[in-house]
Symmetry: C2
Subunit: 381 residues, 2 copies
């Protein structure tokens, strides 16, 4: 929210929002690092909280973005034609089985809108992606939460809750955010098979590129109730361009054409995504750098007597060894030292903090700040 | 739509869309020039159909876009803080009375979602912005159409239809698209006063910068049922970046925080918009160039015996002197000659074509092609 709510405007009787919207709060699902800087007055020196990629996009992508400026006066292609064909070739599926959108966030909103009427039940894990929950609530869906089983989303209980609640939709991230864990492909395939065909499965693979081989199930467009989501925000290093995509059975994917903002993806964004797909060696080097960075983060955790969980993502989740309040104090102390990190909020997960892979210089700042932050967090007041 | 609908996928019993969505068609409200090129195999040489600005954005904006590439790995600020303050300063209102969005298109979708429940009536002019209609239908609103009065939207009849149908929302563009006409500010103020306060007025001022002085009403945030929309897509020359904004009473504007895609505007886009607002001399030179281009288009029309309507926008609407079929043939003949132009489709408006302001080189192509296209259209077959 903007700080300055003062205004010369009179409070007025305003026309009412629709009944659905009248029940919703004004919210920002994630407070951005820029907002934290504005509030604290502290300029962030290590940006390790948003699971971006400080390794950045391919030099070819930066060149494409630079060239695209001169063409920014033209509307983007509303069909995203070239990008869809590039994505289709990348995935080995027809272009009309893929739909790009304004980040996975934008596509999740549309997917909820496509299938959920007010009162319909949607199942997700307690502590999973809050922006998905925001969109479900925004369209009147009723959330049913399943606790994590340790550090993993609980596939059996998710499927059981779908059947018990007669859910219309279930959300699963593999690899998982915020815990960084993953299920191997056969477990995901068994989960998909265990969900009734009348329930849409949204499988969020935002972190798919950084997962071990064998994590992502083979693509099967004949699966009638599965939509998968990937993004250029993580391994590709393009979070600022808002580029995600969904893929699945063409009839499901075509549904997005009923509701989407057709001109929603920028023209430079389309060019950047195509350039990113064209530079496989850079992607592999970025994935390798992320892998090394994960090891560095785990080593920093161990040097401070903390447990780093195994990660299939571009972040490492660290058990701070205390309760949720303690982890929150560690986070606040890190923020005081110009290190931006986020943490899970759900009971059972909330004793962890989540550190994004990043170049060494930022990790060194984290390594310097962590022991100080832990000491300060042990001695409150 | 993509051409290649063939697929190895089996037709399957798929989970149903929500009842609202099940009734919607798959659609693209505007066929883009790139799609026309793909279908015809003809590369467009004069891009005069989408009311973009071929004069482009400010050099400062192009520089800002070029610099922003290196930062594209960072998520954008979800609060659009700096852009909102810049827009507030530009308009002379508090930042929290302004909401940026993914073009006016994206904001219209959200505005409809905020206020319209299925079955609610929405009033617009017959032949006005089709993308608005798409969003109304998409949320279950029921459209009531009011015919144009000559080349103008009919303010008295729009207000009368709002009262008759007990509408919850009315849409008005001033200046108007597709006719290029405008009402002076006092007429708009009288219209606003004549609409019951329970009906939200969406005032689309996409073409506000190119209108004569005295077209845009003074800003009054105490107006309880008015949301105004402007964009960087027209005079600012940034259609490819998807940057629009809404402003009005802070409680109405705050409503967007209940439903929007918070990370929807790209990071380079936010930087570009701020840079654009900071270069007032360039904007004025672009407006002057658009004005000269309007005169050139009118002269080309007159040289061919056609009437050009007065324009307050970045395009000129030309009466082709025949019926809708004749104008459609002119358009098709121009397309054969690599000149891309669009036309209104509604009865009474459809004998016109609509030519975007553009640099001289493109207008010369139009000047060369128009007499040939008119001759060919007179002699079909």
């Amino acid at each position: 929210m903007l700080e300055n709510r003062s205004c010369w405007c009179r409070p007025l009787p305003l026309p009412p929002f629709s009944p659905l919207v009248a029940a919703l709060p004004e919210t920002v699902p994630f407070v951005g690092p820029e907002a934290l800087e504005r509030r604290s007055g502290i300029t962030i020196r290590a940006r390790l909280g948003a699971n971006e990629s400080g390794f950045g996009p391919s030099p070819r992508v930066i060149a494409a973005l630079s060239e695209a400026g001169a063409d920014a006066w033209r509307y983007p292609d509303p069909e995203n034609h070239d990008l869809r064909y590039a994505l289709g070739a990348h995935l080995g599926i027809p272009a009309h089985a893929v739909m790009p959108g304004e980040g996975i966030d934008g596509l999740l909103s549309l997917a909820v809108r496509l299938f959920i009427a007010p009162g319909d039940v949607v199942v997700t894990s307690l502590g999973a992606y809050p922006t998905f929950n925001y969109h479900v609530t925004g369209f009147g869906g009723v959330l049913q939460f399943v606790p994590y089983a340790g550090h993993h989303e609980d596939l059996d209980q998710l499927a059981a809750e779908v059947r018990r609640s007669k859910a219309r939709m279930v959300y699963l991230a593999n690899p998982d955010n915020p815990m960084g864990s993953h299920w191997p492909a056969p477990a995901i395939a068994a989960f998909i098979a265990s969900v009734p065909e009348g329930c849409i499965i949204l499988l969020d693979e935002a972190y798919g590129e950084t997962a071990p081989d064998g994590t992502l199930p083979a693509i099967d467009l004949d699966q009638p109730n599965l939509i998968r989501f990937r993004t250029f925000s993580k391994a590709y290093g393009l979070a600022g361009m808002r580029l995600g995509y969904a893929f699945g059975h063409p009839t499901l994917i075509g549904g997005f054409n009923r509701v989407r903002n057709h001109f929603g993806i920028t023209r430079p964004g389309q060019a950047a995504a195509i350039a990113a797909l064209g530079d496989r060696p850079y992607l592999e080097s970025a994935i390798a750098a992320i892998g090394r960075s994960r090891e560095s983060i785990a080593a920093i955790a161990r040097a401070n007597g903390l447990e780093a969980l195994p990660s299939a993502t571009n972040f490492v989740t660290i058990d701070c060894g205390g309760d949720g309040d303690f982890a929150a104090r560690v986070l606040a102390e890190l923020a005081q030292r110009a290190v931006f990190i986020r943490k899970p909020m759900a009971p059972g997960l909330d004793r962890h903090i989540r550190v994004s892979a990043a170049p060494d210089a930022e990790l060194e700042l984290f390594a310097d700040a962590l022991p100080q932050a832990l000491r300060a967090a042990y001695e409150p007041g």
